[in-house]
């Protein structure tokens, strides 16, 4: 039951992009086309799940054990960067097709604050290992969801007659704000 709660909470109620405003850079930058947004979302979900799986042992068995949990920021950044590097190498070797579709997004994910935020939230909320992995996956799903919705709206926006002053980034930010407001509606779910 707790796992389901974590999943729904991380993907909808406390959506990283729309509630915590983490990972805004790819949210605005790669949401032009639905296809790109989906690829970016999937790549991020993949990395987030792995991040949760790798950073949890580092935190629990190294940082807590040696009583230096304040190093978590640095340790997590190093671990995430190395992880993304490895994933990139592995994909390049195993499937050139996926590499061409996803490869350009991977370096972007390295510096995605949503991934670091996920690792930090995970230890802050004292999840156990399974819960952490579910949390990582759910966060990725939430990110993908936000990306897909944004790209869908932006594709429709191409056909809309946007006033000149709002064109480009400003209308995108206005829409992001409205989406965040709409996601506030999910907050009622958690009590039920």
């Amino acid at each position: 039951m707790k796992l389901i709660l974590i999943f729904i909470s991380a993907s909808l109620i406390n959506n990283f992009v729309l509630t915590y405003f983490l990972g805004i850079c790819p949210f605005l930058g790669v949401s032009n086309k639905t296809e790109d947004a989906l690829n970016m979302g999937l790549a991020t979900t993949f990395v987030m799940t792995l991040t949760a799986a790798v950073t949890w042992p580092i935190y629990t068995y190294i940082l807590v054990k040696f009583n230096v949990p304040f190093l978590s920021y640095v340790a997590f950044i190093i671990a995430i960067a190395a992880l993304v590097q490895f994933v990139e190498m592995y994909i390049r070797k195993s499937s050139p097709t996926i590499y061409r579709a996803m490869g350009i997004y991977l370096p972007l994910i390295t510096t995605n604050c949503a991934v670091l935020g996920l690792a930090l939230f995970m230890v802050l909320r004292e999840y156990n290992y399974i819960e952490s992995i579910i949390f990582g996956f759910a966060t990725g799903v939430g990110f993908t969801l936000a990306m897909l919705m944004m790209s869908g709206i932006r594709e429709e926006l191409e056909f809309a007659d946007v006033p000149e002053v709002f064109q480009g980034v400003s209308i995108t930010l206005i829409i992001a704000g409205m989406m965040a407001l709409a996601f506030m509606g999910f907050a009622g779910l958690i009590r039920g």
């Binding site: 580092i58 230096v68 340790a75 190093i78 671990a79 190395a82 590097q85 592995y90 070797k93 056909f159």
Partner: protein, 284 residues
Amino acid sequence: MTGNIVIISMVSMGGIGAALSLFLAYADKKLKVEEDPRIEALLNILPNTNCGGCGRAGCRVFAEALIQGTASVTGCVAGGQDIADSIAKYLGVESVKADRVVAVVLCRGGEKETVKNAVYKGERTCVAANLTGGEKACTYSCLGYADCVEACKFDAMTMNDNGLPVVFYDACVGCWACARACPRDIIEMHPMERKLFNYCRNKDKGAVARKICKVSCIACGLCVKDCAVEGGIEMIDNLAVVNYEKCPQDDQPTKRCPTTCILFGEEEKMTKDAYYSSLPKKAV
């Protein structure tokens, strides 16, 4: 105690860092992908604009085709002669002279010359406007929503104040992008030797064409008679068509044209500098 924490921090972080770097170094060795270094070298020669003028998905695919020998060294139309020579030099083959083509916009009926019979309020692209017929009465004319300028990746086109696209003769690389983007096929690609063009595609009868556009081809046949070679210009579907294999490239046929739709040597006048210096100076 403080000293202890510093040491523990250094050791644990150093340990994590060292372990990860060792792991990555091992993975790098293990997962190395053998790639033909020539592809990278060719990509450095190519323009890397991925314009698709070579008929392939992008510069990388073209580079792979070059190495496999399925593409010609002159295949990169955007690069022109210089890049063809560089590629040939790199691959150690003989270079050939590439025919450079430029885009020619075969419509001069802009805002000032044409009659409008509709108001278009839809999406501001030519592809969409073409579905409804656009604003101008002439159904063969330029729609004026700049799909071609949008398609040009080489900054070689712009819309002038008359609502017509202008091709910069010196900047056009001949990649076909604009010709493919135009839903009315007004833009054609022509080798640089061709200088005589009939700037109209209207196939209506003369009386109709004259009413809707001041610079339309009214099929009077004067240019056909004035061409030095018999059959150099033919009248096909109420439109004077230049036969480039026969017609000598001079201004003879243009002299008596009543609507000045057939012109000689107009394209090469429109270089980038010439266009921008002809614009009225804006107050800064």
